[in-house]
């Protein structure tokens, strides 16, 4: 059975080193930073591409963000997503408003004849980490939803979801259409090929400007939590460190 998949992603700063806030503490200082999507969402994009490769159908990537977020949409299309929807938002939307805008977009798609069997979200965004947009969207659409997934398989108009829990995995089977929120580790995302990148330039991208619903959540300010800092254990110096290194490699299964 072909599947029609929508994959929702968020443009976030590509942090690597120490995170610095803007002076008003309302945002991350991005002067030196590139942008990406969260590792969870990268896995969602990869899974969507694989499912369509496997079952046929089509895939759409959607984001809500500034015009520059086109970059993340093209990145996803370079990996094999077929088309993109950009919900243009120059100001920040909270989780509630974001969910509302996505729901409206999905309903508009349905009115235009496009029905999504499966909607992917990352489990939480890499910057705000509110853990709620996917659930809100599922609720508003009246669809079943599973979160924290590290396994997704589609068969017979249902989706088998594996959720990582302490000590093992819980398995849920949801009827389609459904909403899933996935986590890093679901798969190993591919790198974009150059032909993929070139095709992505020509794939359709539709831009809409949603109205922002009144904020339910208010951001007061951001705080950078104290990090643990780097830790290193000195195994020994010179040749006498040898046995300890061998032991670690053995534990890691390399030897």
């Amino acid at each position: 059975m072909p599947v029609n998949i929508l994959c929702c992603v968020k443009r976030v700063p590509m942090t690597g080193g120490r995170i610095v806030l803007t002076t008003d503490e309302q945002a991350i200082e991005t002067r030196h930073l590139g942008f990406t999507i969260s590792p969870h969402e990268e896995c969602g994009v990869e899974e969507a591409v694989r499912l369509v490769e496997q079952h046929g159908g089509s895939s759409t990537v959607l984001t809500l963000g500034p015009a520059e977020a086109e970059e993340q949409l093209r990145d996803a299309m370079a990996l094999g997503i077929d088309r993109a929807i950009l919900l243009l938002a120059d100001e920040e939307f909270d989780g509630q408003a974001t969910a509302r805008a996505i729901v409206e977009a999905i309903e508009a798609e349905r009115a235009a004849g496009t029905e999504y069997d499966l909607i992917f979200f990352g489990n939480e965004s890499a910057d705000a980490g509110n853990y709620q947009v996917g659930i809100r969207v599922a609720h508003a659409l009246g669809r079943p939803c599973a979160t924290g997934l590290k396994g997704v398989a589609v068969a017979d108009k249902s989706v088998r979801c594996e959720q990582e829990v302490p000590g093992g995995r819980d398995v849920y089977t949801l009827p389609l259409p459904a909403v899933v929120a996935v986590k890093e580790g679901l798969n190993l995302p591919r790198y974009p090929s150059v032909p993929g990148r070139m095709r992505a330039k020509r794939k359709p991208l539709e831009t809409r400007t949603p109205a922002r619903a009144g904020a339910g959540l208010e951001k007061v300010r951001l705080v950078v939590p104290e990090s643990q800092g780097k830790q290193a254990q000195i195994l020994g110096r010179g040749p006498e460190a040898g046995p300890a290194v061998v032991e670690i490699l053995r534990q890691a299964g390399i030897l």
């Binding site: 590509m14 942090t15 690597g16 080193g17 120490r18 610095v20 002067r31 030196h32 930073l33 590139g34 942008f35 970059e71 093209r74 990145d75 591919r190 790198y191 974009p192 090929s193 150059v194 032909p195 993929g196 990148r197 070139m198 330039k201």
Partner: protein, 839 residues
């Protein structure tokens, strides 16, 4: 936390390939108490070395750059970090093939072996993943290789450490550089202060910021070089080493492709120039990757992907090959494309070793260490001297404008006469509007706009008919006009006036003035007031540091006149050697005086009509200067000549310049006076007279005897380079500067071709001529000699070939042309008795 020494002989800031190399070579030259610090961690502190593509192509059109690269390769090999891969510069166009033929000539001129032009099929055989059908050919260099620059830096650092000469400290940021009375005193860091005799900024893209801490200037800008790595490449899966295929430079698209282990690295100089400021570079902690690996901007790379796909479809078109790494890597660009080396003119003992790439890093390190320790380096570094910049050339706007313009020429076909388009009209002569009215073709010299020729003289081309040589080939005629040759003939027949505003002029005055100029000038300066002396200025080793004229305007007052481009470095050279007791002062009056040259058989008639002063041959001798009244102006007239005709340089305050121009122009009209461009002054006029030019014939790698300028006795008083000069006078010269003429210009295709300079001179059997010091013979200057009706070349030849009448070859764009040595000394080929000058 470890501590730093409280004092040091020299502190090197920056532990990339450059800083490590400088520290190591200072130790090799005998220095100790050296300290090397970096704000990042070792071995990769996060500068440009850490993300460099690390490949080296040894052939460059610049002799200086080729020599530095060759020495670097030698050092990398000695350190065991060089892997030879070979490299091919591929051509997609016929125009590029001509450029590659020119590269062949440069390789021959500078002595790089193992180069050949190759066919598309030969390229395919060496690099099977290329689509050779889009190529016209290529330039293969066997000696291309890849180095491990971080490892090289580590090894050099460790050698100096092991010898006890060097202390190193990572994660140490410079907070300030203290200067007292114009001399650098200490470096303040996050780990304490270090009192230092010498501070060396080898901080790559951060260098301008560090220089500013000391009130000095290092004119470079961080700029983006985009690079991606794609893989895993199936063809490379079985690769046994990180580089097994020749590196490919796709010259026409400003890109390169190279195997790197299982991946293919694709780099570009084709995108829009993306310039940053040093202040915009994040700290090591804040950076997502390293501080100099900026986020990749995909939009700037779209066209490059298509170009890479065209050339390497097998790899780049493979859906299974992914883009695994992509960065906007920062590197240093300068306004003229050359490094920034040497002691800063603003602060004593503060040195810059910046804008140096991996391919020349160790060579630069060695050369700068020699310069620091011995006062000069074996390789002449004048094109890279930090003291070469005029004030306007140090501005952020200028640096960025020129760096942006130069960036896309990284693999470009750059004509030797090519002019910059950006930031022009900065320094204008007072005659500028008059010149513009006359249709001057303005070329730039040190920011000055100088007429190269005047379209108003187009009629002279007809007037002189067949005596004016035309150039058939577009390349030869680019940035050139036959009007130059017509202006030349008019000057020789009648008179020409030349804008010499670009001269650098500085006065040396005070009780110690004579001592000051005696110390620097090779020729006797204790001459009568009113004498003008043309003199070499020597390096400690007896090579050329400059050649210039000095007027004695008073007992304690000398005026030095030198070229525009090298003026600031000359000024620093004099300034550094003023008496310590303050008894002589140097004042730059470049912007105070303007100069108009007037030469030709009618020059005396014109000057005579403008002044009541005695300008007869006896009344105003050659080599003298004097202030004369011309109408309402008082003009300093100096009777010398760089074009070999009777005449004067006329100096007036700059605001009176236009009045002088108008007076001379009007008075000269009945005498047939024409305005004459620098094409005559700098090339045709001087070459017919075999006059040497600094930066062409005259360099520190050649001495006065070899240049044929050791006439007269050595003056008694001491001067820089005297011992070496005396010794060189007693030796057989290893090479002799000769003037040659071209016997036949006809190419195989039947087109007459005209050499432009820097071509190799070969024996009649095609063998490379190399003197006993290992220096190859090449054309130092080339140009027309319209009065002779011959194309003139100058070249240093080994003594066996330096014989008038000797028949040799010159290689130009892949073909060889017969030439003959016209004179084997400084005797002019035109008017050998100098009767015109002395008439």
């Amino acid at each position: 936390m470890s501590t730093l020494p409280g004092r040091a002989r020299a502190v090197v800031i920056g532990a990339g390939i450059v800083g490590n190399s400088v520290a190591y070579h200072l130790h090799e030259q005998g220095w100790s108490d050296l300290v090397l610090i970096d704000k990042g961690p070792f071995p990769n502190p996060g500068g440009s070395t850490g993300h460099a593509s690390n490949f080296i192509f040894p052939v460059d059109h610049s002799k200086e750059m080729t020599a530095l690269t060759a020495d670097s390769v030698r050092q990398y090999k000695e350190l065991g970090v060089f892997t030879r891969s070979g490299g091919i510069e591929v051509a997609r166009t016929e125009e590029r093939m001509q450029e590659l033929a020119r590269r062949m000539s440069s390789a021959l001129a500078w002595g790089v072996d193992g180069v050949s032009l190759v066919t598309p099929a030969q390229i395919k055989a060496m690099v099977p993943f290329l689509d050779e059908s889009i190529l016209v050919g290529g330039f293969h260099t066997e000696g291309v290789g890849v180095v491990d620059s971080l490892r090289a830096g580590t090894l050099m650092r460790e050698r100096a450490q092991a010898a006890g000469a060097l202390t190193i400290q990572a994660n140490t940021e410079v907070l300030g550089i203290d200067v007292e009375h114009g001399v650098v005193r200490r470096v303040r860091t996050t780990r304490g202060d270090i009192e230092a005799e010498i501070v060396i900024i080898a901080s790559g893209v951060w260098s301008p910021r560090l220089a500013r801490m000391a009130g000095a200037s290092i004119p470079l800008t961080p700029a983006v070089h985009q690079m991606i790595d794609v893989g895993p490449v199936p063809r490379f899966a079985t690769a046994k080493s990180h580089i097994e295929y020749p590196i490919v430079r796709d010259m026409d698209t400003n890109m390169y492709e190279r195997q790197d282990g299982a991946g293919l690295e694709i780099g570009s100089y084709a995108h829009r120039p993306i310039l940053h400021d040093p202040e915009e570079i994040p700290s090591v902690e804040e950076a997502a990757l390293s501080p100099t690996e900026f986020p990749f901007t995909q939009a700037d790379f779209e066209l490059q992907m298509e170009h890479a796909l065209e050339l390497c479809p097998e790899i780049v078109g493979d859906e299974s090959v992914g883009v695994k790494y992509a960065i906007n890597g920062l590197l240093s660009l300068t306004p003229d494309g050359m490094p920034v080396l040497g002691e800063t003119p603003e602060v004593k003992n503060l040195w810059s070793v910046a804008a140096v790439w991996v391919k020349e890093g160790p060579g630069v390190g060695k050369s700068v260490a020699e310069w620091m320790v011995h006062g000069e380096s074996e390789i002449d570094l004048h094109s890279s001297d930090v003291a070469r910049f005029w004030e306007h050339q140090k501005t952020r706007a200028h640096v960025r404008a020129r760096a942006a313009e130069g960036f896309n020429k990284t693999y470009g076909i750059v004509h030797p006469g090519e002019q910059w388009a950006s930031n022009r009209d900065v320094r204008l002569a007072p005659f500028h509007s008059r010149q513009a009215e006359l249709g001057a073709a303005f070329f730039e010299a040190a920011g000055w706009e100088r007429p190269q020729w005047y379209e108003s003289n187009a009629g002279l081309v007809e007037e002189y008919g067949d005596r004016v040589n035309r150039r058939e080939a577009e390349w030869d005629a680019r940035w050139w006009s036959p009007i130059v040759n017509a202006e030349h003939l008019a000057m020789r027949d009648r008179a020409g006036m030349v804008d010499l505003s670009a001269f650098t002029i500085f006065d040396i005055a005070g009780p110690g003035a004579l001592r000051a100029v005696q110390k620097v000038a090779m020729r006797e300066m204790d001459v009568a007031v009113g004498r003008v002396v043309y003199t070499p200025v020597l390096s400690p080793g007896g090579g050329f540091k400059a050649d210039l004229t000095i007027m004695r305007l008073g007992d304690e007052f000398f005026r030095v006149v030198t070229g525009g481009a090298h003026g600031p470095a000359d000024r620093k050279w004099f300034s550094d050697r003023l008496p310590d007791d303050g008894s002589a002062q140097l004042t730059d009056v470049t912007s105070g005086w303007t100069t108009l040259g007037l030469w030709g058989p009618r020059a005396r008639d014109i000057v005579g009509a403008l002044t009541r002063a005695d300008v007869s041959h006896e009344g105003f001798r050659f080599g003298t200067c004097r202030t004369v009244e011309m109408d309402t102006l008082r003009v300093l007239a100096s009777r010398i000549s760089y074009v070999g005709d009777l005449g004067w340089e006329l100096y007036v305050p700059i605001e009176e310049g236009r009045r002088l121009w108008d007076m001379v122009f009007e008075e000269g009209r009945p005498h047939g006076l024409v305005p004459v461009g620098i094409g005559v002054y700098g090339t045709t006029g001087r070459l017919e007279k075999c006059y040497r030019a600094y930066g062409f014939e005259l360099e520190s790698e050649y001495n006065v005897v070899e240049a044929g300028m050791a006439w007269g006795k050595v003056k008694d008083s001491d001067f820089v380079g005297r011992d070496a000069h005396v010794r060189q006078r007693g030796e057989e010269p290893a090479a002799i500067l000769c003037t040659l003429t071209v016997d036949d210009h006809t190419s195989k295709g039947g087109v007459k071709r005209y050499m432009l300079g820097r071509e190799p001179i070969l024996g009649r059997d095609g063998s490379r001529l190399v003197d006993r010091k290992g220096r190859g013979s090449y054309v130092t200057s080339a140009g027309a000699g319209p009065s002779l009706g011959k194309h003139i070349l100058m070249a240093y030849l080994p003594p066996e070939q330096a014989v008038a009448g000797e028949r040799l070859l010159v290689e130009y764009l892949g073909e060889r042309y017969p030439v003959t040595v016209a004179v084997a000394d400084a005797t002019p080929v035109f008017d050998p008795e100098n009767t015109r000058i002395r008439s």
